[in-house]
């Protein structure tokens, strides 16, 4: 029995025609557990889908082949939300607005802020509240 993995994916749809229900196939044909963070897929427009997929390594690999066959660009880095360390002043304004503590204070003495991307669910609160525009969304 192969080990279960979780992988964060950012899918980019260049003028997707919406005919293939991708998520359905990920669940039904590839046995994946899917957790969608955010999505915007509109006919005749560019779109995106940010999600976690959980399953065995072979299942995920096969699913990736399927996704690529759909004329969708896959970004494995999973960076829908980015934090610019150099723009951040470590004020800590974001930390109370971040529901998962992806943005958190690492050291009580120096009050340095860090971003743990794996914890980010892309709620976009940080983009709303950061006074220094240190957080950005890829879409």
């Amino acid at each position: 029995m192969s080990q279960t993995l979780t992988k964060k994916l950012v899918l980019f749809f260049p003028r997707y025609d919406c005919e293939k229900p991708i998520i359905y196939h990920l669940v039904k044909d590839h046995n994946l557990i899917v957790n969608v963070y955010r999505a915007k897929v509109t006919p005749e427009e560019e779109g995106y889908l940010v999600l976690d997929v959980r399953g065995t390594e072979p299942d995920i690999e096969k699913a990736m082949e399927f996704i690529k066959s759909c004329d969708v660009t896959v970004n494995n880095n999973g960076k829908g939300v980015t934090w610019d360390e150099h723009r951040c002043t470590h004020c800590g304004q974001c930390v109370t607005h971040c529901p998962t503590d992806a943005l958190h204070i690492v050291d009580a003495g120096t009050r340095r802020v860090e971003f743990d991307e794996a914890e980010c669910i892309e709620c976009l609160n940080c983009i709303r509240v950061c006074p220094f525009n240190a957080c950005a969304s890829a879409f």
Binding site: T89, T96, T110, R111, P131
Partner: protein, 396 residues
């Protein structure tokens, strides 16, 4: 007892003992006040945060033929031209032309005066557009050009109010999210925001303005500047703890320095959703340890500094004067305060991380003999309070 001259001699010879306001308390606890006051020459204090009452004077030099600018914009941000021909004042909170502000609330305020100042210090190329009515000696009626800070004759930051001695903690008692200069506040006290470097903050380490006064040399975003006046809204006659630490805004400083010598990481444009734009600045102020009392004041700790918690949905805008309670910076820095039994998550707008960096940078400059101290030429008042604006129906 030491004098400014003795301390400056020790700095110049590279022998000065300098500690940050973050380090001094433990040092004094170890050595005792008397011994430490003899040994330590300077304690460095610092702060980094939004300081709205900031801006700069710029002189562009003259074009050929000349123009007497009557209206001007830098990167579409309006500047004040009601002074001489090519002198302008650029204010931190000015919005960019065409910014919808809060037309569709909350506005994003992505770019404005504070961002122009950041870009200027960062050496970026900026667009100037100016108009004039034309005169015999200044015939040009319009100009559009690009410049960097190196092209300017002068770029001098002149800030009417920086370094608030202490500051409010904002909460929101209403049922909807509110957007303030202290950030986004969730309904029903969903969160709280403060804005002070607490035990590192300049005026909290000199509560009675014994060494910080007009003429004091300061570190303003990396440049060596000075205090040129009491800051606007300076109110030394405030509520204080038995130790003399203000429990409300209290004192402020008016600061100036040459922008050509500033470091861009300490001059940062600020976008406050639903509120507007501003400028965050890094300021460092050295405190000469002339005697034991000055050292004792510089040993203030976060647990001894209280900030008033104020409802920004009602009491603040309506100016009721009501304070919900006071909390210490030690409590605030844990990231959680408890008011009337409710736990409230705390965020900050002031960066302690950057303030600490500045206190250390200034301490290093002093240790290397590159930053000498200056005695104030005039003390800041301790007895003035803040006045309100009276709405009158008739002339006085």
């Amino acid at each position: 007892m030491k004098t400014y001259e003795q301390i400056n001699d020790r700095i110049a010879s590279g022998k000065a003992v300098v500690l940050t306001a973050d380090e001094i308390m433990d040092y004094v606890d170890r050595k005792g006040l008397e011994a430490a006051a003899k040994e330590v020459d300077v304690v460095t204090t610092a702060t980094f945060g939004p300081m709205c009452s900031s801006g700069c004077f710029i002189n562009f030099g003259h074009s050929k033929p000349k123009i007497r600018m009557s209206e001007a914009w830098i990167e579409d941000v309006l500047v004040y031209t009601g002074i001489a021909a090519v002198d302008i004042y650029l204010g931190a909170t000015q919005l960019r032309h065409g910014d919808p502000a809060n037309m569709y609330p909350p506005g994003e305020f992505r770019y404005g005066g504070g961002h122009v100042i950041e870009d200027l210090v960062a050496g970026k190329s900026l667009q100037l557009f100016a108009l004039s009515y034309g005169t015999d000696d200044y015939p040009r009626r319009e100009i559009r050009t690009y410049f960097t800070i190196d092209d300017l004759n002068q770029a001098i930051m002149v800030n009417p109010r920086n370094c608030y001695q202490n500051y409010n903690v904002a909460v929101n008692d209403s049922d909807r999210t509110i957007y303030t200069y202290l950030g986004v506040l969730d309904p029903r006290r969903g969160n709280a925001t403060y804005c002070s470097a607490g035990q590192l903050s300049p005026l909290l380490n000199d509560p009675f303005y014994e060494t910080i006064g007009i003429g004091t040399r300061v570190w303003l975003a990396g440049a060596h500047g000075h205090v040129y006046a009491e800051g606007t809204q300076h109110a030394g006659a405030c509520e204080r703890t038995p130790d003399g630490v203000p429990t409300e805004g209290a004192g402020t400083l008016a600061l100036t320095a040459d922008m050509k010598k500033m470091r861009p990481e300490f001059v940062r444009g600020v976008s406050l959703r639903g509120y507007g734009v501003s400028l965050a600045l890094g300021v460092g102020v050295p405190i000469p340890i002339l005697n034991e009392q000055i050292l004792r004041h510089a040993c203030v700790r976060d647990r001894d500094i209280l900030a008033p918690v104020i409802d920004y949905s009602s009491d603040y805008p309506q100016k009721t004067g009501r304070v919900i309670c006071h909390v210490s910076y030690e409590q605030l820095r844990t990231g959680e305060i408890r008011i009337e039994g409710k736990k409230i998550a705390v965020g900050s707008l002031s960066s302690y991380h950057k303030a600490l960096e500045i206190a250390n940078l200034l301490a290093d400059e002093i240790r290397r003999g590159e930053f000498l101290l200056s005695a104030p030429i005039q003390k800041l008042p301790k007895d003035t309070a803040m006045k309100s604006l009276v709405i009158r129906k008739k002339p006085v």
